[in-house]
């Protein structure tokens, strides 16, 4: 069945190695869960059409490699990305501490208008397996980075859809804001243009005499 998709959004999934980026993308796109995935070398690409408040939107999701040496290639990945899902693993403190690295990386490489969402993966684990508890995650995130945050679980299918849908909604809102801004400017420019034309017309009549 062909769905008339009104827009396509490019979304990038980034984060440290082994935090579950591929798993998250699979859970979202295929609604499946496997225990192990082949480690992503370079980049993978999936897409899904979502129903965003009645409007079909295609999400183009780029699943990136977490290993450090592949990060030198990221500039190419960031090109044209409208949304970013930044992932860490609640059982791995390093992956949480590296968030500031990733945010800096985004700042340096992505468009300044890019929309971000943070996901703390593997939240189904019990408290003693956790390295980052939820309150701490929320607190740090509220203080340091002003972006929406979800604790997600691919295994338990918790908040996976919400993460991507929130991101999609934010992208849509931004685009609408920009579009209306553009229209306003257009209108303003149009008014000016009319005035100019009037002026030009009066000038020309003047010139003809």
């Amino acid at each position: 069945m062909a769905v008339d998709v009104t827009a396509t959004y490019k979304v990038l999934v980034i984060g440290d190695v082994n935090v579950g980026k591929t798993c998250l993308v699979h859970r979202f796109c295929d609604e499946r869960y496997y225990d192990t995935y082949i480690s992503t070398v370079g980049i993978d690409f999936k897409q899904k059409i979502v129903n965003l408040d009645g409007v079909p939107i295609k999400l183009q999701i780029w699943d990136t490699a977490g290993e450090e040496r592949f990060r030198t290639l990221t500039t190419a990945y960031y090109r044209g990305a409208q949304g970013i899902v930044l992932v860490y693993d609640v059982t791995n403190l390093d992956s949480f501490n590296h968030l500031s690295y990733w945010l800096r990386n985004i700042e340096e490489n992505a468009s300044p208008e890019v929309v971000k969402v943070l996901a703390g993966n593997k939240c189904e684990v019990n408290t003693h397996q956790r390295a980052v508890d939820k309150e701490r995650g929320q607190k740090v995130i509220l203080e340091s980075f002003d972006i929406p945050f979800f604790e997600v679980s691919c295994r338990g299918d918790v908040n996976v859809q919400d993460t991507f849908l929130t991101l999609a909604r934010l992208i849509r809102d931004l685009r609408q804001r920009r579009a209306s801004l553009f229209e306003e400017r257009e209108r303003a420019a149009g008014v000016k243009l009319e005035e100019q034309q009037k002026a030009a017309a009066s000038g020309s009549t003047c010139g003809s005499c």
Partner: protein, 550 residues
């Protein structure tokens, strides 16, 4: 039938054995002529506690059945026993958990019909006895000076490149001869024989390595080939081998360490070769067959190759290039991992084996040729697509769609038969230079190694010839001298620069008033004219810092 049995049944010939199954071979010797190819000494040995099976307890796979194409020491005995039980007591209600193919990959039931609709892939993977005989005849003919039966011990460790050999490799190496021939085609056997350290020693040296690399290897072991029964869980036959092999590699090449993607190549090799052979083939791949900085921390080599590919596409496939340019598609996003894994992550194993036959013969030029051929085959489809997402999808799906290797090789000949190694090398050098210039900002003296080297460094395990000695007296090989001299001079400069940075870092760390000093080199002429008088003044005053330190 008999030959098929001798290939895939219990009497597996040469190279398919580990030390303990020697007895098995003796029992399998019958009047068959092929058996002159038995090794005098079993060549494949596994280091460490790999389960050894004796001829009594082994359940061999069915001919052409699951696992039949992999080396016997990798056979998952538990699964094979289950499979043979199922055959013995046919229980119509009993459904096996999974089906496996000849290589041990799990066949997803839903993929079943789709798989079999593919031309080449639906054919059973059984060797043609004629094909094997043809190869044996070729080897015997090229070793006619040998009296008596030819054994692998008497076959040259490198096969001379003849047109006949190239033609035969193009039509495929018989699967039962692959272990022996890959070792000889790639130069891995030569490397193994001339190495000053054995694989066993390397495994030992790297086993007490509790570095980050070992941790990362551990994390990736099950994420390398999860759909293959030999690599699907920690008790699988291939996992301890893969662990030892990757650790040894990371230990031997400190400039690389562990690079994701190499595991995929290693795992594919381990299915067919014994552990030690697989290791030396890996060494040959990273040292000789691919450029030096391919897997380095910056991935410069493989990035340069992506640019080379783009240039070759523009030259040989202007139609494809036009589509890619019109839709602003970055080809490297798609192709990079094909190259990092030497296609092992994307091609069907049957196709991959044929590609690697050629790769071990001709080296890295083959990966460009095959990419160009695959793009050519899809050219019409790519032109018919409308939007960039569709094109991007079609491009990413290209290797997975390859099902006819003969056709692929034919297209390869037509499209880029004129491509030469020199052309690839020229492109490579240029793009490596561009990349290094682009990354100028990234070359940061805080990193311990930051410039690409012309040759991959091994960890020093024995006293090497000094660089100066090599520079002054050269190698025995005179014809290569000029080229090597250039390479060595560059190396020397890289090392010198690194040494200076290290000295600088040392003084920065011990003296407080140097802490704020920048180690970023200033190559400008103004900087030079500023430094020169200071240097001369210091030299005149004979105030030597280094001497004072002594």
């Amino acid at each position: 039938m008999k030959i098929a049995r001798s290939l895939f049944g219990t009497g597996i010939p040469e190279g398919y054995t580990d030390g303990s199954s020697h007895a098995q071979i003796d029992t399998a010797v019958d009047e068959d002529n092929d058996d002159v190819f038995l090794p005098d000494a079993p060549e494949g040995l596994s280091t460490g506690n790999v389960p050894r099976h004796n001829s009594g307890g082994v359940t061999p796979p069915a001919i052409g059945g699951p696992f039949s194409a992999i080396t016997p020491s990798m056979w998952p005995q538990d699964i094979l026993a289950q499979l043979s039980q199922q055959d013995n007591h046919r229980d119509p209600n009993h459904q096996p958990l999974y089906r496996f193919d000849e290589f041990g990959f799990r066949v997803e039931e839903e993929d079943g019909p789709e798989q079999s609709s593919k031309k080449l892939l639906s054919q059973p993977f059984v060797e043609d006895p004629q094909h094997r005989l043809q190869w044996i005849a070729y080897l015997e003919f090229s070793h006619s000076e040998e009296v008596g039966d030819l054994t692998w011990d008497h076959v040259d460790i490198r096969l001379p490149r003849t047109d006949k050999l190239r033609g035969m490799v193009r039509s495929g190496v018989p699967h039962s001869l692959r272990p022996q021939l890959w070792m000889r085609l790639s130069g891995a056997l030569q490397k193994q024989k001339s190495a000053d350290i054995s694989y066993r020693e390397l495994v030992k040296a790297s086993s007490n390595d509790s570095l980050m690399t070992s941790k990362q290897i551990e994390k990736d072991l099950l994420r390398t080939q999860p759909s293959n029964a030999c690599f699907s869980n920690f008790t699988s036959t291939g996992i301890p081998r893969l662990r030892r092999l990757l650790r040894a590699l990371a230990w031997l090449y400190p400039d690389i360490g562990y690079c994701q993607g190499t595991g995929m190549i290693a795992a594919s090799l381990l299915l067919f070769l014994e552990e030690e052979e697989s290791f030396w083939v890996m060494c040959t791949i990273v040292e000789d067959l691919l450029p030096a900085s391919y897997y380095s921390a910056t991935l410069l080599g493989v990035q340069a190759d992506q640019r080379v590919l783009a240039a070759l596409v523009a030259t040989y496939l202007p139609g494809v290039e036009a589509v890619i340019r019109e839709h602003d598609i970055e080809l490297s996003l798609i192709c990079l991992h094909w190259y990092v894994t030497l296609f092992s992550s994307v091609l069907h194993m049957k196709i991959l084996l044929r590609l690697w036959d050629l790769f071990f013969l001709d080296g890295s030029i083959v990966i460009f040729q095959v990419t160009l051929a695959m793009l050519k085959i899809k050219e019409a489809e790519l032109k018919s697509l409308e939007n960039s997402a569709q094109i991007f999808n079609a491009l990413s799906g290209i290797p997975g769609d390859v099902d006819d290797v003969e056709c692929l090789f034919k297209v390869m000949e037509n499209v880029c038969g004129s491509l030469t190694e020199v052309m690839v090398e020229t492109h490579r050098r240029r793009h490596l230079a561009y990349l290094m210039a682009d990354h100028g900002a990234l070359i940061n003296p805080q990193n311990s190694t930051n410039l690409p080297k012309q040759q991959l460094n091994r960890r020093q395990v024995a006293k090497p010839r000094g660089v100066l000695e090599l520079l002054l007296f050269g190698d025995e090989d005179g014809s290569e001298d000029m080229r090597n001299k250039n390479v060595r001079q560059t190396e020397l400069l890289v090392d010198l620069r690194e040494a200076i940075i290290q000295v600088g870092r040392h003084f920065k760390s011990i003296e407080a008033n140097f802490v704020s000093l920048s180690l970023n080199p200033d190559y400008s002429l103004e900087g030079h004219s500023h430094d020169l008088p200071e240097f001369l003044a210091t030299a005149r005053s004979r105030h030597r810092r280094a001497k004072a330190l002594l």
